[in-house]
């Protein structure tokens, strides 16, 4: 697999498929890499790996709990990367973490370490356009796709810049708030999806608040796909095994395929 995250996702989308990116917090359980395999086998188009941080400003209670558990188990960036390097999955892996972990050495070293372990994308939610320059350069130099976030509150001018500078896909926030399962799909998400799709040919994926297969399918229909995180981590924290998490991802996959264009 030599193509970039973006090339991979575009190729899949262009077959008419809605994209599905499930999430797991790296280190949350001793066998967390089995979860990555289960996701891939269940029809994920990429897998997002959370590198746990002590102060996850944009995460709700579920991801916080998963992060705390992973940190308490001694999870480190170095350890995660060693395990990632041994993974054999046929879809791209994307790292999600906060700026503080990125700036520990130089951003160039961080990006180089990610690509050396086989990761193809990076999401840093607390690095907005104003602050992303050095990291974007470092990621580009490594061939690592840096995914930027777009919010319902972003101005049109900002959305244009975000769609131009984001790589891999554009991460559209369904709502103002933290990660976590929510009930209905907000009207602002539908608007944001429409606006982003009008601005870019890059894949647009919704994240935050996706809580069940039907909702995932409906939301994905307003863009190119969805990221599902808290709903999966909640099940894991409640004791679900990798296979059960895989089954759940498969059920979302079926819902997406059923609603595909």
């Amino acid at each position: 697999m030599t193509e970039s995250l973006e090339e991979f996702l575009i190729a899949r989308r262009d077959t008419g498929r809605l994209l599905l990116v499930p999430y797991v917090t790296a280190g949350v359980t001793p066998g967390w890499t089995d979860i990555v395999h289960a996701y891939a086998d269940a029809g994920a188009d990429a897998v997002e790996l959370g590198f746990p941080f002590s102060d996850p400003m944009l995460d709700g209670v579920t991801i916080q709990e998963a992060s705390d558990r992973a940190i308490a188990a001694g999870t480190t960036v170095k350890g995660i990367l060693e395990e990632v390097a041994t993974l054999d999955v046929d879809v791209p892996l994307i790292a999600m973490t906060y700026s503080n972990l990125v700036v520990q050495q130089s951003t160039a070293e961080f990006c180089a370490a990610l690509t050396a372990s086989g990761l193809r994308g990076l999401i840093v939610p607390d690095s907005p356009l104003e602050e992303v320059g050095e990291l974007a350069d470092a990621a580009a130099a490594e061939g690592l796709d840096l995914v930027l976030l777009a919010a319902p509150s972003s101005s049109r001018a900002r959305l244009r810049e975000i769609t131009e500078r984001s790589r891999g896909f554009v991460y559209a926030l369904t709502r103002m708030g933290t990660t976590g399962e929510r009930g209905e799909i907000p009207e602002q998400a539908v608007r944001l999806g429409r606006e982003l799709k009008g601005l870019t040919d890059r894949p647009v994926l919704f994240g935050f608040g996706v809580s069940n297969p039907a909702q995932a399918a409906e939301l994905a229909g307003h863009a190119d796909g969805v990221v599902v995180a808290s709903a999966l981590m909640r099940k894991l924290l409640d004791g679900a095994r990798p296979r059960e998490l895989g089954d759940y991802v498969a059920s979302i996959r079926r819902a997406l395929d059923h609603g595909a264009r």
Partner: protein, 405 residues
């Protein structure tokens, strides 16, 4: 102005940081520190607050309303009190800038009245705040009551236990206190939770940050609202001291708001600026570069970048970061940061209480502890003049002190 001519007369080179502590511009950077490291969802709110603050700060009517409230409501100017007996004991001339005498018992009111006026001007209905020792929470609850706003204060569960009195004060003032049960259950976690809540309520809520931290414009704006401490002290020193400026200007540092306000009044003088941190929460001394709560600065963290818990006897100093401008002042050598331990702090609190009849907050007692140590060791030369900002009163700490005695 008198100081400039004095400096020239004495042939003293004013430090290179003369232009320090001004407007950091649109990026909000102090050297390589500061900035706006928040999720995209909060960027518009940061822009809105920056624009509103710039406009208000250059509006004479806003300034006049703020000055009036600080005078008739908060009790400014606060006095500069000579510490007669302690000065004699230490062989120096020590003045105390009495922020403990401001309404609500600490310097926090200066910033909060400013931000509450701004929130009101912006049409916001609710103030959100984080608090450690509870002083900023009490000040926020107070300003909210004064201006008819609602207040929600996030406070770590551990701090709620050790600052019961301030929790009751906030309740009496009509504020909602939300216990934070995540992480170390102290100030840093209260900041995280306030930020999370802010993201989801940004339309009608204003996040009233209590120190010189957070995303731009907060570190700059809070320093500007606290600048009144330094400007008053500067003028008071000019009236009291033959040379107009003290040899040392000392303040305690958690996030660093009272120190920033104090230093702002003296940064262009020859005074040595000393920030005093708690040994267990000394980001300027033991921290490494990191990004926390929306800004880049020095942060206490482990080798993998996990932020560590700060521990000290003073809840208000249990913060693992330091305001970005302090990090910049440190790097440039314009300010120096020292640490004192809990034992020295408790002894300093007792010493000041018994020599001057002033019960200072445990936070403020850090500054006192350093002055006592440095004067005794000769680091502060005999005969030197020292201006110390006493940031708050110690009534809230009585229960903790009882346990420590």
């Amino acid at each position: 102005m008198g100081e400039m001519s004095w400096s020239r007369r004495q042939g003293v080179t004013v430090p290179a940081a003369t232009r320090a502590m001004n407007d950091p511009g649109a990026t909000g950077r102090f050297g390589t520190y500061g900035g706006r490291h928040v999720p995209e969802s909060l960027i518009p709110a940061c822009h809105e607050i920056e624009a509103a603050f710039r406009e208000a700060w250059s509006d004479p009517e806003f300034r006049s309303r703020l000055d009036t409230l600080l005078a008739v409501y908060a009790g400014r100017p606060t006095p500069l009190t000579p510490a007669w007996r302690l000065s004699h004991e230490l062989g120096i001339t020590l003045f105390l800038k009495r922020e403990d005498l401001a309404h609500t018992g600490s310097h926090k009111i200066n910033n909060v009245i400013g931000q509450a006026l701004l929130a009101h001007r912006m049409g916001k209905e609710r103030l959100l705040a984080e608090t450690g020792a509870g002083q900023h929470g009490v000040a926020t609850a107070t300003a909210a009551a004064l201006l008819g706003l609602k207040a929600t204060v996030f406070m770590g569960e551990r701090d709620i236990e050790r600052q019961e009195l301030n929790v009751l004060r906030m309740n009496v003032l009509g504020a909602e206190v939300v216990p934070v049960t995540t992480g170390s259950r102290t100030l840093k976690d209260a900041c995280n939770e306030a930020m999370r809540h802010w993201v989801s309520s940004v339309d009608n809520s204003y996040y009233c940050i209590g120190s010189v931290m957070g995303p731009h414009p907060y570190p700059w704006m809070v320093r500007e609202f606290q600048r009144v401490i330094g400007e008053e002290a500067r003028a008071q020193c000019a009236a009291e001291l033959p040379v107009g400026v003290p040899d040392y200007v000392v303040a305690c540092v958690g996030g660093g708001s009272n120190a920033a306000g104090t230093f702002a009044g003296f940064v262009d003088t020859t005074a040595r600026l000393i920030g005093v941190e708690a040994e267990g929460g000394a980001a300027a001394t033991f921290g490494r570069v990191g990004v926390l709560h929306g800004f880049r600065s020095l942060v206490l963290q482990d080798e993998d970048g996990q932020v560590t818990e700060a521990h000290s006897v003073a809840a208000g100093l249990d913060y693992p970061g330091i305001g970005p401008e302090h990090a910049h002042l440190r790097d440039g050598g314009r300010a120096r940061y020292e640490t004192v331990n809990d034992e020295e702090v408790v002894q300093a609190l007792l010493c000041l209480a018994r020599t001057e009849g002033i019960l200072a907050a445990l936070e403020s007692s850090h500054a006192v502890a350093w002055v006592i140590r440095a004067a005794k060791s000769g680091e502060i030369a005999p005969g030197s003049t020292v201006m110390l900002t006493l940031s708050g009163r110690g009534d809230k700490d009585i229960a903790s002190i009882k346990e420590l005695l």
